[in-house]
């Protein structure tokens, strides 16, 4: 951004001492009544990153190759939302598997795992492209070390959080864990969310899930996120529930 030369009338440095207190765009100066060009382009660039993230796609080749290390079957699935514009307008379709995917998942239903892991694009495929495997590298060995049986890993395109219910039921899993791209903000376009649901079944709402949000190197780190998720999953199995009831006792979540 340094290359942009501006003729802004007031380069406003009088509020510089206040900028330390907030990330808000204060003291940006003005030219006439308008925002100076430099700051105007900064906002547009941040928005461009967010827009690109919304339209980014799962990098299937790279994910398949990186997931090999876990030695688990990987299923390539798709929701009922055929394309992004439909996904954005029809959240109901993003919560259901399409017919072909249901058939594929049913082939694996005999395994009856404790946990199924789902990676979905959500509103930022960039987020899971970058962060899903890094998180699983810590998490999967932890889960296996306490004897939890992990089913196939599902990669799902045009998926919303509740599609984990659909997948969980078809795979007859006791618990579903979905990693999903969160709605991009102007400051971060690669924030990943994780939702945990015990006894998943269609029709559940958010109060039946536990959410760990803002997972990314500059947000909640993989190490800390993994620790929280591991704790929640163990508690979910111990108390046979997830959601609001579980959250209350999780002192770890406050950190």
């Amino acid at each position: 951004m340094d290359k942009v030369k501006t003729g802004a009338e007031f380069e406003d440095d009088s509020l510089d001492h206040l900028k330390q207190f907030t990330a808000a765009r204060i003291g940006i100066g003005r030219t006439g009544a308008s925002i100076p060009l430099k700051q105007s382009l900064e906002l547009k660039l941040a928005h461009a990153h967010a827009r690109d993230a919304v339209y980014s796609e799962l990098d299937i080749d790279k994910l398949l190759s990186d997931l090999k290390q876990f030695d688990l079957p990987v299923l390539l699935l798709h929701s009922e939302a055929a394309y992004r514009e439909m996904y954005l307008q029809r959240p109901d379709l993003g919560r259901q598997l399409n017919k072909k995917s249901i058939e594929l998942v049913n082939d694996y239903s005999h395994q009856k795992p404790d946990i199924v892991i789902i990676i979905a694009d959500g509103l930022s495929a960039t987020a899971v492209n970058h962060h899903a495997v890094s998180l699983l590298k810590t998490l999967i060995p932890q889960l296996q070390s306490v004897g939890l049986k992990i089913g196939p890993i599902s990669l799902i395109k045009q998926g919303r959080v509740a599609i984990a219910d659909d997948i969980g039921v078809h795979l007859k899993a006791k618990l579903s864990l979905i990693l999903i791209g969160e709605r991009p903000g102007l400051s971060s376009a690669d924030s990943m969310g994780c939702y945990i649901t015990y006894n998943p079944k269609p029709g559940l709402t958010d109060e039946s899930r536990n959410c760990i949000s803002n997972i990314r190197p500059h947000g909640l780190t993989f190490k800390l996120a993994s620790k929280k998720i591991f704790y929640l999953i163990q508690e979910a199995f111990r108390r046979k529930l997830s959601g609001v009831g579980l959250k209350d006792n999780a002192g770890l979540l406050e950190s």
Partner: protein, 462 residues
């Protein structure tokens, strides 16, 4: 009762009034999601033609949500004034549209109409109006409200200063407040969306704003946009509450999802009035609404999202609010997909609210997953400025770092005031001039005001 219209050899039938209203609605994603939108362009216009022939009187006999089931319907029907309705009681919806646009239909005439019309009549007529019709009629309405200043006068345009911070940090909030005031923002209200709804936290923010206001004798009001029950508790504790805020919807069920009902709002209204803190007037309520909230709460009863929205205005007008703000683009693309839909919805909300006598402002905004950008917001801002919108938001550089969406900036308000020759609320304008922030032509002086800044820096250190 069913409605129909024939185009060529095809007859379109609409089983009841709510179906007719939904099918006649300009296209938006939320109605498609609800499964109630017109299925073709032709069906939509057929519905509009059929709707144009419906007598306004029909709306008094056929309700969209049963009277017995919904207290908002009861509020609408029980408070409708036939004397005021007599001005237009012989008209159909289509004739009403033409009547609204007549040269003779002036501000005073429209004000006489307020108690006679129902939200459903207003929603219906708006569906037959083009964007320019919505602008044209809204501009003739004038809704003036007062607390410590006067908002909504013709030729004036106000802003809510919105100094949000993701962790409610008082210094961070104060920094944004100072920035905004130096840009001439904040005459509608200085209003914070709190990150947490705890009474102690909210009270801290109220004290911060009240201290600033009293220190500089600013003729404006402050508000923390917490739940009405939190406000009630804080009133009992003696906190400095200027305005009582609440999000509201257009059905009993949607209000219940917000944790409110009319009895609770009545109680909050009376409690806030009793504080008697206004100096210019006693409009003490601040409401926020937005198309799609009823559907998102699964509380829409098959009624289209725009009609639901206008029903919410019946709730608002019961309490003589200082401000009503439709947060139009916040809800996301599954309800309003793109700049076109957001623009249309904002103009509808502004028109419908004004016609029902409400001091309408608009949060001109979008989220990052909507097909919209700053250019769409510039267009909408210009349209609303022309339409006589009472107020918009003022957010540092458009970027709300707490709610994660883009709204209008302090600069945007300066732009619209400049191009349309609009001024802030008169009392606030005088204050800006006294402080040397603005000159008497309405132009900002140097943004930095060393004296004022030095004083303000002391705000949180004392």
């Amino acid at each position: 009762m069913s409605y129909h219209h024939t185009i060529g050899r095809k007859t379109y039938r609409f089983n009841d009034l709510k179906t007719l209203l939904a099918k006649a609605s300009p296209h938006r994603s939320g109605d498609v999601l609800a499964g109630i939108a017109a299925e073709s362009y032709e069906e939509r216009i057929a519905a509009q033609i059929a709707l144009a022939d419906v007598p306004l009187k029909t709306f008094l006999n056929e309700v969209v949500i049963p009277y017995e089931e919904d207290e908002v319907t009861r509020l609408i029907i029980d408070n409708q004034d036939n004397n005021s309705f007599s001005l237009i009681s012989t008209l159909t919806v289509g004739e009403f549209r033409d009547w609204l646009l007549r040269d003779e239909t002036d501000t005073l005439t429209l004000q006489k109409l307020v108690q006679g019309i129902t939200p459903e009549m207003v929603a219906a007529v708006s569906k037959l109006m083009r964007n320019q019709d919505l602008v044209s009629v809204a501009k003739r309405c004038e809704v003036v409200t007062r607390f410590r200043n006067t908002i909504g006068l013709k030729g004036h345009f106000s802003t809510r200063l919105q100094p949000n911070h993701p962790t409610d940090d008082p210094k961070g909030i104060a920094a944004s407040m100072i920035d905004g005031l130096l840009y001439g923002s904040g005459d509608a209200v200085i209003g914070i969306n709190p990150a947490t709804d705890s009474p102690a936290e909210v009270n801290n923010l109220l004290l911060l704003m009240d201290t600033l206001r009293r220190q500089f004798d600013i003729p404006t009001q402050s508000c923390v946009l917490c739940h009405v029950t939190t406000t009630l508790e804080l009133i009992r504790q003696g906190a400095p509450i200027d305005l009582c805020f609440q999000s509201i919807g257009g059905t009993e069920k949607s209000n219940s999802s917000f944790g409110i009902n009319l009895a609770l709002l009545d109680e909050a209204y009376e409690a806030t009035l009793s504080l008697n803190r206004g100096s210019a007037g006693n409009n003490v309520m601040y409401f926020e609404t937005g198309q799609g909230s009823e559907l998102s709460a699964n509380a829409h009863h098959g009624v289209d999202q725009q009609t639901c929205e206008v029903r919410g205005y019946a709730v608002a007008r019961r309490y003589n609010p200082l401000l009503v703000n439709t947060v139009v683009g916040f809800i996301g693309p599954e309800y309003l997909y793109d700049g076109k839909q957001i623009t249309r919805a904002a103009l509808e909300d502004h028109f419908c609210g004004k016609l029902l006598g409400l001091p309408m402002g608009v949060d001109i905004c979008y989220t990052n997953h909507a097909e919209a950008d700053q250019d769409d917001m510039d267009n909408l801002l210009t349209l609303l400025g022309v339409a006589g919108c009472n107020f918009i938001m003022g957010v540092p550089g458009s970027d709300d770092i707490m709610l994660n969406y883009q709204s209008t900036s302090f600069h945007d308000a300066l732009y619209i005031r400049n191009v349309l020759g609009l001024r802030p609320a008169p009392e606030f304008e005088q204050w800006l001039i006294r402080q040397g922030i603005m000159d008497n032509k309405g132009l900002l002086t140097m943004h930095s005001n060393p004296h004022l800044l030095k004083e303000m820096k002391g705000l949180w250190t004392r």
